[in-house]
Structures are given as C-alpha cells and as structure tokens.
C-alpha cells in the first residue's frame, strides 16, 4: 500500500541519483556500468565513468540511504521515549560529543586507521558514545526522563564551549572543523558503508520488532508498567540502540540536522502514532529525504558542493512552519 509506494519512491530516487552528478554520465551508460561492474572491451564507456559510478557515486548513495534510515528511526524513537515533538537524535549529546571528538582528534593530529576508516570517523564515534555515556551516568542512570534531558542539554553547552575554546587556540583548523560539523557525504566510500550497515540495519530491525513496547511507553510510565513493560530497562535499551545508530551515522557524515526531527512528524501524518508502522515508515522517509537533499547538495551548483546539513536545514525550517500551521488550524 503506502509502504510499497514509499519503497518504489526510494528505489527510483536511488536510480535518479545515480545518474546525476557533477560528472555528466548519460543514463544508458549508468545502467550499463551498474549492470557490468567489470569492464568488457569495446563497450564504449570511459574508465573514469566506471570509477565515478562504482567508487564515488554508488557508495555515496548507499551511505546516504543508510544514514537517512538511521536518523529517521532514531528520531522516531527519541520522540517516542521523551514524548516530546521537539526531540531529535542529538539531544543526549551525540552531536556535540562527536564534534568534540573530531576537534580533539584533529588538533592532536591523530593518524589512526581501523578497517579502512580514518581518524575523523573514529574520533567522532568515540566522542559521541563517550558523551552519551556520561550524560546517562550523570542523569542518574535514566531513571527519569527530565534529568536525562537536562543532562543532555548541559553536556551540549559544556562541549560547545570546549570546542570553541579549542578552535580559538587552533585557528588554522577552524574551517575544517566547522565544515565537518555542517555534515557532508563528500568523503563517502565503501568502507564507511560497510561499517555502518551492520549497525544501522540490524539496529533498526531490532527497534521495529520491539516497537510495541515503545507504544506502551508513550502512554506513560505507569500504564506501561502495568502492561508488563519493564520501563527502565526498555528505555535504556531503546536509547542505547538509537544512540549507537546515531553515533555511527554522525561518524561517517557529520552532524546532519532536521532529518531526525522532521521525518517522524511527516510520517506520523500517514501512519498515526503506532510505532510498529511509524518506525519502518520513518526509516524509508529518512532515506528518501536525505537522498534527495544530498543529490541537491552535490548537483545544484556543481562542481561546488554544499554541505548536506545546510540543505536539510533549509528544507526543515519551512516544513516546521507548515507543521506549526497544521497544529494551529487542524482541518
């Protein structure tokens, strides 16, 4: 039904995105290249086109879809757990933790590689996870929602201040850090896709399977408890899985805002509040939105690339006003 339509939209978006880019490659050529990964003699296709499709565009599209899925899912989870329409995957410190990790790593000149992933994604992931763990601990172990939220905000402020301090004393790195925080897929490659897929996909499926518990938690802690949900434990598991998904997303693409915030709201208009449908729809919605945003980001003023985080913010603000309007004038 609508789900299948969304799947079709995603697939078409992938195909269209594959044929667009700052390098002009005709659609028939794109199809030929994808159909036969190894070059055969006399197929009239340039080696460079092959490299562009297989090493640059395709991994970028796949990574964008994965990250979009992850952000959509974790956005829906966070909004459910906090029962707050303003909740997004970054409120517990993932984004500021990642940015801090990257800043630190950059200034220390970290040169580590792990499974083909460089220092930046590694330091981002480490920073994101560390910040989230600290937030969780200082809020009293997630017993109540409000302390969690407040700790997340406090951590965000603290880390922002420390990042500013580090940037002030390392002016030469300032542009690089700011660029990274805006979020971009320009450095996408197969290794990044390979390392995020086993985190985002199983994690999302796990959340879908246990979505019923999320429904009950939205009703309120007491109701949920009386229905047999171990609230504290469930909350911890949902937050843990979502945080790891978000951290890996941010590690490979920077801080991309609005996707985790808008997509669940948009999908809720179609599915209603039942998380058993909302989560899968948010997965698809996030993938589609981010793919469109990234395609715009890399083609609209090609060959100059706009960081995709800027495009999502530009799309997000008007959508939010639309939502606000809808809330104030329900049809």
């Amino acid at each position: 039904m609508v789900f299948l339509i969304l799947v079709l939209i995603l697939l078409s978006a992938i195909v269209i995105a594959g044929s667009l880019g700052s390098a002009r490659i005709s659609f028939p050529d794109v199809v030929k290249i994808i159909a036969s990964p190894t070059p055969s003699i006399d197929d009239g296709i340039k080696d460079t086109s092959r490299i562009i499709i297989w090493k640059i565009r395709l991994p970028r599209i796949i990574l964008t879809v994965l990250v979009g899925m992850g952000l959509g899912v974790s956005g829906a989870v966070f909004q459910g757990i906090f029962r707050n329409p303003m909740a997004n995957p970054y409120i517990l410190g993932v984004s500021s933790g990642a940015a801090f990790g990257v800043t630190l790593g950059m200034i220390m000149g970290l040169q580590i590689t792990f499974l083909g992933i460089g220092a930046i994604p590694i330091s981002a992931f480490a920073g994101a996870i560390s910040a989230s763990v600290v937030v969780y601990l200082i809020s009293g172990g997630g017993r109540d929602i409000l302390p969690l939220l407040l700790s997340g905000i406090a951590m965000g402020f603290l880390l922002s201040a420390m990042i500013s301090l580090l940037m002030y004393f390392n002016r030469s790195q300032l542009e690089n850090i700011v660029y990274w925080t805006m979020g971009s897929f320009n450095a996408a490659n197969w290794q990044k896709a390979a390392i995020t897929a086993p985190v985002i996909l199983p994690g999302s499926i796990f959340i879908i399977i246990f979505a019923r518990d999320l429904n009950l938690m939205v009703l309120g802690e007491d109701s949920a408890k009386s229905m047999g949900v171990s609230v504290k434990k469930s909350r911890l598991i949902f937050l843990l899985v979502s945080t790891i998904i978000t951290a890996s997303a941010v590690a490979v693409s920077g801080v991309i805002g609005f996707v985790g915030l808008i997509v669940p709201h948009a999908m809720r208009i179609i599915t209603g509040p039942d998380h058993r449908t909302l989560i899968p729809y948010s997965m698809l919605g996030g993938a589609i939105l981010l793919l469109i945003a990234d395609t715009i980001a890399r083609t609209i003023i090609a060959p100059t690339e706009i960081p995709v985080g800027i495009v999502t913010s530009l799309l997000g603000a008007p959508f939010f006003l639309f939502l606000l309007n809808r809330m104030r004038n329900p049809k």
């Binding site: 700052s22 460079t48 086109s49 490299i51 040169q111 002016r171 490659n189 090609a302 060959p303």
Partner: protein, 307 residues
Amino acid sequence: MRKISIVLILLFSISSFYAFAEGGREVQPISAVAKVEAGITVIDSYNRSVTIPEPVLRVVSAAPSVTETIFALGKGDTLVGRTDYCDYPEEAKSIKSIGSLQEPDIEAIAELAPDIVIASTHFKKESVDKLTALSIPVVVLADQDSFEGVYTTINKIARLTGSEDSGVALISSMKQTVDSVILAVRGKKTPSIYYVIGFGEYGDFTAGGDTFINQIIEMAGGNNIAKGIKGWSFSLEKIVDSDPDILVCSKYWNAKKSILAANGYKDLRAVKSGNLFEIDNNMLDRQGPRLADGLKALAEIIHPDAF
C-alpha cells in the same frame, strides 16, 4: 522617596557615562605635527599615507611574506617581532612571536617598542586603529595577487627598512627567474593538472580560475582542470572525470601519503602512474620573495624536460 531615587539613578548613569568616555579620548600621537617631516613616506593598502621617522631599527612583521621579505633584503637583524606562522628562514623562529595574523597581541607589539609594524592582507582595520592610537606606525601592504604587486610590496618594504639596493637586486633576480621559466615552457604542450589544496573529510578544494595560483599554473605551462570554476570548492567526481595528467599537493601534512590512500584519488591515472608531486606550497601561498622560486618549482614538475 521614589522620585529622588529615580533622579539619583539617572545622575549616576549620566556621570558614569562621562567618566568612561573621558578615558577613551585619544592621546594626540606625536607624529601628528603639522610641519614637513623628515622620514620615509609610504602609501599603504588602506590608502593611508604613513610617514616613518628614520632610521628604522626595530620592525615587527605581522605576516610570513613580510618576514621572508625582510630577511631576503638582509635586514633580518632589525626584526624584533613576528607571527606564529613566520617559519622561514630558520632564523625567524628565534624571534619573539606576537601571535597570529588576524588576532595579533597588541600588548606584545607595544612592549617591543617597534619603529614600525608591517602587516599584510589578514590584518584587521581594528588592529591598525589600536596600534595607531598607541602611536605605533603601521603600514598594511595587502597581497595584490600578481607578480607586479609583489614587486611593489618588496619595493615599499625595502624603502621602509632603508635597503633600496637590496630591494632592486631581489626584484631583478625574481624577474630573471620568472622570465627564464616563461621562456623554458613556451610553445610546449600544456599537460592538464589538478592542484590539491584540500581533500577528503573536509571537502575537496583547489584553485579556481579567478585565483592567483591559477595564474601561476598557467605561467608554469600547465592547464588547470579547475579553471572553469570560481573560488576554491570542487567535487571528487569532477576530478576523476577530468582525468588530469598531473596532481600537485603540499609537501606538508602527510598530504601525498593520504592522497595515495584516498577514495577516488587513488584510482586517478595520474596517481597510479606516479604523477602525484609534492611542492612547498608556502612558496606559492606567501606572496613574497620565494614566489618566483615557487613558480619555477611548479614549472619543473609540469615540464621536467625543460629544465
């Protein structure tokens, strides 16, 4: 009672305004005397006519290009202050630092009691005003993005430091180098080249058609694949699609090693066939005495057979 409090508060705020306003009034600088003065007069990039009394014995440089020029003119011993980024020649490193180009430590400069501060492009007007208010002469010589501009700047610095002869000699030697390069590459086929400024996680950046580096690439007998864009931002797809013959990157920051391992870059024909070359980009980025050497280094990479 209420009314009296309000009046008192108003009086208080008005008087505190005057108290602090007095403190900010400018002390008349000694040099603003309306007679004809002896000294060196130079017009700087803010179109200010600045007159420095001779002799100039203590100089603070607020840019690496200025530091290099002063040493190249043989006046390194007059330098009492330099920025954190002034690392050439070696002797510059032992001179006291006054901070960065954009946020120089005004107090540190004042402490050094210089006869003049010579600055370049990134020096803010605020800093100029602050130093002028302290009666410290400042001359701002912004980059001109041309060889002629560099010669003019070297000339002015030579006059300010009383080393006109060295200035003439330096400029003449630079012109010779430039002419010999242009001659050597004339008529040769121009290979396509991609000049790597940034790559990877922080974006792909190069020198677009409206940049000085693009000019230098063309003078060195190369065809910049990015000459069609304005500015610095490029895309990986476009680089691979343009299939450049040569790649040039900085010799610092482990750039070459990282490019050899970077997605997309490592599959470039130029990289695979060993045509990724390093250059000391400071020679090109700093519009100073090494600019001609930078041009020559680039030309030697592009046309090794011509030298």
